[in-house]
Point group: none
Chain length 188, copies 4
């Protein structure tokens, strides 16, 4: 009974938060986000009791979108190389096409307001790619390193790649592929 929380409303707030945080950083005012979302400022706090909780929800939401994009179709890919290429291409293309989300995710990843537990949950959800990367790297230069480190190396490379892809849409595919070769050579 009573009015249920509106999923649509929640999503509008998330969307506006992404837009404004991409533009103004984590300092973006909750009131501005609410206004952009077309909801009264108090209502933002009905959905996210705290700015920090909004940050965490944002992190989870974006990370999940990314992971499901990357994972989608992964099981149909062929050998290790094909699989890594699948992950890499989907990852970087998503990032190139979703600049705001990518930038927001980058900010949130560096923020102390996103709880360690939230970050770890994101890491855990990415297990398919993480495992793949670990497997690929098992004989290469990074063999024996903590898989979190290997993952972080790949992630930082991905971020740099996405960044250049969106700045340079014409050469995006080429950058994507070159960097994949770079990665492949180094990792194995």
């Amino acid at each position: 009974m009573a009015r249920p929380k509106s999923e649509a409303r929640r999503q509008t707030i998330i969307d506006s938060a992404i837009k404004l945080i991409a533009r103004e950083g984590l300092g973006a005012a909750t009131a501005a986000i609410a206004k952009d979302a077309g909801v009264p400022n108090g209502s933002l706090f009905t959905y996210f009791p705290t700015k920090v909780e909004l940050f965490n929800a944002l992190y989870t939401e974006i990370k999940e979108e990314l992971i499901s994009t990357v994972d989608d179709g992964l099981s149909n890919a062929g050998d290790e190389r094909e699989q890594l290429l699948h992950v890499w291409a989907r990852w970087t293309r998503w990032g190139a096409a979703n600049g705001e989300k990518r930038r927001v995710l980058a900010q949130l990843s560096m923020s102390e307001d996103v709880l360690e537990s939230t970050k770890m949950a994101g890491f855990a959800a990415a297990h398919r790619s993480v495992n793949l990367i670990r497997q690929v790297a098992r004989h290469g230069a990074l063999r024996g390193q903590d898989s979190a480190f290997v993952g972080a190396v790949v992630e930082s490379l991905a971020n740099t790649t996405m960044d250049f892809m969106s700045r340079n849409p014409k050469h995006a595919e080429e950058v994507c592929m070159s960097t994949f070769e770079f990665l492949w050579k180094a990792l194995r």
Copy 2:
């Protein structure tokens, strides 16, 4: 009347800014920085008329320190591999040993408050390493890519490496060397 009185004072402010920004992010209050530096809040603005100017000075200062650390002795290194190793080891060891500066530099690099011109000056000052990297990469997977991109790839790798080195001091050297092999294989 030359520069405002004390160079020492300027440096104290810079140091406190690094300390507080590392701890609290770019939102650290100018008054808090001044207080930590033992300087009246108004005086901070004698040295840096604006918080943004403080940011830019900070960026330049840290970047210069990093570059001079990396460049120091570079001309004595042997072949390309030795030279790159020199750069890599000095870079990452500096970062591992100077966590606050590294973190502040990372924040500033993402901030819109640090002017494009400031960032470009930093890039230009790093020309020796940049050239070296470009040269090493001239036949590898990233051949033909914008040298800013190649530089960014190496930089992101360095950042990730430094991060793990300082979190894991006992394995710092091992991480440093493995990652160098990773880089070397990939780049050539």
Copy 3:
């Protein structure tokens, strides 16, 4: 349709209100009270259309409990002294044992949100004690004073006494009795 469904529910709300107001003052949020009571926040307003009405109900409820505690057995007490002792002992012991209620009553008594009419009704309900006190005081130092004033004097003494009794449970009885002697000497 008679009174809203559940008397029990009303009482739960009252109890939670006492608990939270004792702890946080009259600023305690209605939502917090409802939550503590295990009642949806909207429902609180079914029972008490306004926070002010909740305050008034609280005042009346606590005052009634106090008065009935004090009046109970009063008719069996002997002479004036015995009767006053009966009143005094029951009053202060109740207060010592019901710290939260006492503190809430004190807050409400000072609040402008409790209507004058509510306060007067409480005063009227206490007529047995009030009359007794007036009677005892008819020859003493306060003879001729407004009986509301005499009552207020005794009440303030009682409040101070209860306060010390609950802070100092071991000497509670002693404090109770000494203060009675104090009162008795002064009043007659």
Copy 4:
């Protein structure tokens, strides 16, 4: 150097705080206090970094005024009775004439925001009256009780008395004197 804090300004803020808190309780808005004082809201926090610190300053200020009023001329009073009368009359007349301050002090005394240390300092400053009261009470009904308790008893009596005096200015003196007799009889 620089602009010194203005004692006058501080006092204006204190005065406005007394006025508004007397009228609206401790919930009076800092912004309203600042506005009433004719200072920008931010300036209030230059003088009192926190609302709680304002409360503590208020408590101390009012208590000091009261104590110095009461103590003034006390050493010229004659025997114990005269001295107690001096204290009593000055105390209650001050309260009757300074309704706002008295009400504010009463609110602050009950507030958890006024630190125990602040309250204790106030108690300590009142040592002359406290000692006098203890001395007077040394043989009476309250002999052997904690002097804080004896003091509290007298204080509560004083508060009730002042309250009636200001409500009933025509009988103020009579109430004052009757209550003194009450106190004298009870205490000795």
